[in-house]
């Protein structure tokens, strides 16, 4: 099979073939790099590895679950070989002197990182239009956004450069681009994957997530990066399941909850129809589908847009030009801070820093931040109550619309509302994933599955089954 680059094979099959010697890791990875370079107009990457480096890494790739598998990594995850700019000028050219735990696990598993992908600056955005390095195009329609903030990683997989890529989620930044680009996107349980080396946006909401061409690819990617990390105090020490083992599992006995709040009257009827079809497939496979309620769902966006900017305003204080990064010339320390940060941060980041600082400030903390923290607990309780009532997974649309056109969501609030179905999972910490369930106006839309904390296995069980049952219908 020499000469084949294996990009039609799943990541697992690629790794097996490389391990068996029937595929060359170097061939696979250099072909991936070539496809990435050929697709340069997508602007999916901020940095691509060089051909020489890819060959060297592929040649030395250790035998692991991702033996010789090319992957792309979002540019807010620290790597020591390629820079980590977070889509911002304030970290332009920053090469981290340490690597993220998730990246170390990828290397140990034999994966080869071919590039760092484009993103909304500091993960603040839902379209990748907020990158300081230009927007990324949706591979399925270049006039539309790929979603955000992990737009580059989604595009890399959707365009066929690699089978697996990694992004981050704070309010839906993996699931939403996955839905917009017609691929699988997974947000694990908070604490399932180490955040050490993920540049923090909102610490209590951030997660590293996985994109996969298929459910199997995403399952493998998650398994490799999941696990306890002593360098992350929010990382949880609980065994990592073999998520791929959920493939082919029966759905008899699986209870699927459908939360009414995610199917408002205003929901696009075509999206509703695709969701109904997906639910029918689940029923046909033996799952029980029942309506449930998550009554505090409509509070998710206000809560999210208080907590996330507040934490961000604090997390981004370290970007001050003192220890690393570009520094604006100034005679006075105060001026240095203000110039460095004003020049370095884009308008959306500045807006969120100001909003976040405001809601934490004296006189406003109780009404905004403290209140939002308490309401967040109510959102979390909604999920706990439902999962304790015998429901294994929930099913919802991932987004209220398919990918929108560039520049069509200029009102920040309109942009924020596109997170409406995804932000709850970040607030509650429950695992959630999106997979293609059909097309609307020619563009893919996603169906979202959610499960209880650390019950990714339940989620994957339903996802594998649904993917199999829909088959090519997912593209209709």
């Amino acid at each position: 099979m020499s000469g084949m680059d294996g990009h039609e094979l799943s990541a697992a099959d690629t790794a097996s073939a490389v391990g068996a010697g029937t595929l060359s890791a170097t061939d696979v990875c250099t072909a991936a790099l070539e496809r990435a370079m050929a697709g340069a107009d997508l602007n999916a990457y901020i940095t691509l590895a060089s051909d020489g480096d890819v060959r060297a890494m592929a040649g030395a790739a250790p035998r692991g679950l991702l033996h010789g598998v090319p992957v792309a990594v979002k540019d807010n995850i620290a790597t020591t070989a390629l820079s980590t700019s977070c889509g911002s000028k304030i970290l332009q050219g920053w090469v981290s002197p340490y690597e993220a735990t998730a990246v170390a696990k990828l290397h140990a598993a034999g994966a080869v990182i071919i590039g760092k992908t484009n993103m909304d600056e500091f993960a603040m955005g839902s379209s990748t239009e907020n990158s300081a390095y230009g927007p990324t195009l949706n591979p399925l329609d270049h006039a539309r956004v790929p979603g955000g903030s992990s737009g580059g990683s989604a595009a890399a997989v959707a365009a066929g450069h690699c089978r697996i890529s990694f992004g981050s989620e704070t309010g839906g930044s993996v699931r939403q681009p996955a839905a917009f680009c017609g691929i699988v996107g997974v947000k694990p349980t908070y604490g399932r994957v180490s955040r050490f080396g993920l540049v923090a946006f909102a610490s209590s909401l951030d997660h590293i997530g996985v994109f996969g061409r298929s459910v199997d690819d995403a399952a493998l990617g998650l398994q490799v990066i999941a696990g306890h990390d002593p360098h992350d105090a929010t990382s949880v020490d609980t065994p990592v399941d073999v998520y791929r083992d959920q493939a082919g599992q029966s759905l008899i006995g699986l209870v699927v909850g459908v939360p009414t709040e995610y199917f408002p009257a205003t929901l696009d009827p075509q999206i509703r129809a695709r969701c109904d079809r997906a639910l029918d497939r689940l029923r046909q496979l033996g799952a029980e589908v029942r309506p449930v309620s998550l009554p505090h769902t409509d509070l998710a966006i206000p809560v999210y847009y208080i907590l996330a900017p507040a934490e961000a305003s604090s997390n981004l204080a370290r970007f001050d030009g003192v220890r690393y990064g570009p520094r604006a010339p100034a005679d006075d320390l105060r001026e240095m801070y203000e110039q460095t940060r004003s020049v370095g941060f884009g308008p959306e980041v500045t807006r969120r820093i100001i909003l976040g600082t405001y809601v934490l400030s004296q006189g406003h903390y109780d009404a905004y931040y403290r209140k939002a923290m308490l309401v967040r607990e109510k959102i979390t309780e909604d999920f706990a109550r439902v999962f304790a009532s015998g429901v294994h997974v929930l099913f919802t649309p991932t987004t209220p619309s398919p990918a929108f056109g560039f520049g069509t969501r200029s009102d920040p609030i309109e942009m924020y509302l596109s997170d409406i179905f995804t932000a709850t999972a970040n607030l509650a910490g429950v695992p959630a994933m999106s997979q293609p369930i059909g097309l609307v106006d020619g563009m893919p839309v996603g169906g979202q599955l959610l499960a209880a904390h650390f019950r990714e296995a339940d989620m994957f069980r339903a996802a594998f089954a649904l993917e199999g049952a829909l088959g090519s219908e997912a593209l209709t």
């Binding site: 690393y324 500045t350 209140k371």
Partner: protein, 103 residues
């Protein structure tokens, strides 16, 4: 709670970010719009919220075992000198060398 120009400038100063004066009106409008959406939280009853159920904080052993840097600080710091990091001196600073920070 309406946000004023002065509020935005005050908060921007706290956060050490600049708001160009021509952007100020738009920023104030955007902030007020966003905060209006948050107003719905005022009426939510949170009296029954349970205590934080997160697992207890893990602790590390008191070992000297730092995460090593692949490149030394002097390689990437903007203004290293004799091992120190230099910054412009705060103009209002007194001569006594106090190290406590301040707004």
């Amino acid at each position: 709670m309406a946000v004023s120009d002065a509020d935005v400038l005050h908060v921007a100063a706290l956060a050490r970010v600049g708001v160009p004066l021509e952007r100020l009106p738009a920023m104030v409008r955007e902030l007020n719009g966003i905060l209006e959406h948050m107003a719905v939280l005022e009426s939510v009853d949170v009296s029954s919220v349970a205590a934080d159920a997160r697992p207890a904080m893990p602790r590390r052993d008191d070992q000297v075992a730092p995460v090593l840097l692949a490149r030394p600080l002097a390689d990437f710091a903007p203004a290293p000198r004799d091992g120190f990091l230099l910054v412009p001196r705060l103009s209002t600073h007194s001569q006594l060398g106090a190290t406590e920070g301040d707004e």
